[in-house]
Symmetry: C2
Subunit: 384 residues, 2 copies
């Protein structure tokens, strides 16, 4: 329905970059992909490039927004504590057999607006628990993995409210292509250059070994202590199977591990945050000793609070993921990072027809890699 | 793309019948559904009725014709010996946990026309092997299961070549609704009455205990010996979990177990046969001692022969499934069976985006239930 305004040449380039750089898919390797049904045009391009690269078997599991909504409209209460554990465990077995993982992110950020927050949070929790064995293999980099973005029509209309849906989708598509650096002649070379630039930055940060970072901006005055022995990373990552993948396309971030207890101050999001089909607006959070002590939001606060109740760790800064880092959240010590992008939220649930969008992706910091508990971030938030 | 000409009220009735009668889905039970993406309108109706009936979690795995074709166009040769074994085994685990199974049949019967028959048959074989653990739980009736049909546009054009695609799809939809008996006020009552009628017939046949059946028609002169102790069945079946399901909607058949060695003569199909995306036309087969000794076909003979090479048993009549039984194939002894319908081919592959359409369904006769080897029929054929 929204494929017309999306440039087919750039879409094909995005697919090629996802396979050649994002995954570095090796000959004979299987690929498991998840995507919303509306992203089928990109799925097909990626499938083609995967097979051209010598893939063994490419399997895509589509999610369907309407089916997810049917659950919220018609299912009885007990349904919301169920997750597709057995199907996910088949997925985990596939990863153990070195199947690569690709997720297309492109869901409606407003999908679950108006649904019962209790059901939403229980369904998210049940899904996270069911998905955990598979997710750990991803966030632990047992395999190479990649997330790419596709323009969702509802998201496009949120971002470009004054345009028709078709125009808005075209604009969002162009923004994704630009941020993903596939709007150039040689997107693979552009990605290498970008990775080299990111590496320059995180190498510099590693050299400095800052004890803390100070963030300031409208409604934000936050000091984050660095973990002892922290390391900065960004861009390409080597998975345990020896393949260097680019987990996120687009990505502008460099990231590290905060100190669990040394986070003090207030952070605000001046743009909407999207969490599994729920928008959270005008969010402001205050941290003391690394722990959230106050939360404000003009919309979505109830959902956010329930997410924070998932487990004790959820209120700790160290378990949060913020991406991208808009200019105003940029640490002062890092003066030359690239501008904020149209980064999408985490990947769809592989079984999203049966449940709301899951947060499988998540950045992993050096700390989370050595700490399995942190591998299932209770929240994954992106600025729209 | 083809939903406009499909009557939404009858489609909803079909979905309701699939859940209420086809599966008799019990409260709290999970449901695993497979469907081509083009059948999404029916998937959504079924999902709704499943949740209304108290389903736990409904999960749909969509297949995508274009992704399947991409494999045939671009994959390297080794890909065609691969099956999604680990994902299927997650599915088998779900069935062991009493998840009900529903398949929407509605693929393009010509999808793989012109593709390399060697690749098609190897991919089918690899898929069958991978799917076997899950399939055995279905054909062994460990769980309740059901197949319903959805009008595929390419099939509709094959059946109604002189109509526009839209008109053809509408006609095929109406034919499916009629054959499925959902074009009446109370389709659930109609299904009960139909089952009672089928039961009358198979009870009568059981009472007669015929030693053999003789079929005759254009190009057909065939005698099929009945297995010792054979029983006739049809319509509703009780699964081992105690639920009486209606595996096939529509269905007009009564079936039994042939004698392995006592099949003699020639059988012809005067309508096209569809096998996993390949059409076989003007097929004529001669049997001696229960075994195929000669095969003719004007189209698709190569694919058919490769199917027959799958294993030794493939050439035995006892491993064939014919459905529906058009009037001319009706056994003489059974004078009152209902007319041929627009029965679709077996269900799609759950992982069909990664492989061609699989034949998971298959009738089970009393013999196959006690004989696991026969539970994976190497061929499943339907008349178009």
């Amino acid at each position: 329905m929204t494929s017309a305004p999306i440039d087919p040449v750039k879409l094909d380039k995005l697919a090629r970059v996802a396979i050649k750089v994002g995954l570095q898919l090796a000959e004979g390797r299987d690929l498991l992909m998840t995507a919303p049904m509306s992203a089928a045009p990109l799925v097909r391009r990626i499938t083609e490039h995967a097979y051209k690269a010598g893939a063994g078997l490419v399997t895509t599991i589509y999610s369907d927004e309407e089916a997810t909504l049917a659950r919220y409209k018609y299912a009885n209460d007990k349904s919301f504590d169920k997750g597709a554990a057995r199907l996910y465990s088949g997925m985990a077995e596939a990863f153990k057999a070195n199947t690569a993982r690709l997720a297309i992110s492109g869901d409606n950020p407003m999908m679950l607006a108006g649904r019962d927050p209790d059901k939403v949070s229980r369904a998210n929790r049940a899904n996270s628990a069911a998905y955990k064995p598979a997710l750990q293999l991803i966030t632990g980099f047992d395999i190479n993995w990649n997330i790419v973005s596709y323009p969702n029509a509802a998201r496009a209309k949120l971002m470009f409210p004054n345009d028709s849906e078709e125009i808005a989708v075209g604009k969002l598509a162009d923004a994704i292509f630009k941020a993903s650096r596939v709007d150039v002649d040689d997107p693979i070379a552009a990605r290498k250059e970008h990775n080299a630039n990111l590496k320059k930055r995180w190498s510099w940060l590693n050299g400095k070994n800052f004890a803390s970072l100070k963030y300031s901006g409208p409604g934000t005055d936050l000091t984050i202590g660095s973990a002892d022995g922290h390391r900065w990373k960004g861009g390409a990552s080597e998975a345990k199977n020896g393949i260097t993948c680019n987990p996120n396309i687009p990505t502008e971030e460099v990231f590290t591990t905060p100190h669990r207890l040394r986070v003090e101050g207030t952070v605000s999001s001046t743009k909407p945050l999207s969490h599994n089909g729920t928008l959270i607006e005008d969010m402001q959070a205050r941290f003391e000793g690394g722990r959230l002590v106050q939360l404000k939001a003009s919309k979505g606060r109830d959902i956010f609070n329930r997410v924070l109740d998932t487990d004790e760790g959820a209120r700790h800064w160290a378990k949060w993921r913020w991406y991208p880092i808009p200019p105003r959240f940029r640490p002062r010590v890092c003066s030359s990072t690239t501008p904020s992008t149209t980064k999408m939220p985490p990947a769809t649930s592989p079984w999203a027809s049966a449940m709301p969008i899951a947060s499988w992706a998540g950045r992993t910091s050096p700390r989370t890699r050595s700490s399995p508990r942190a591998a299932t971030p209770p929240i994954s938030i992106s600025t729209g």
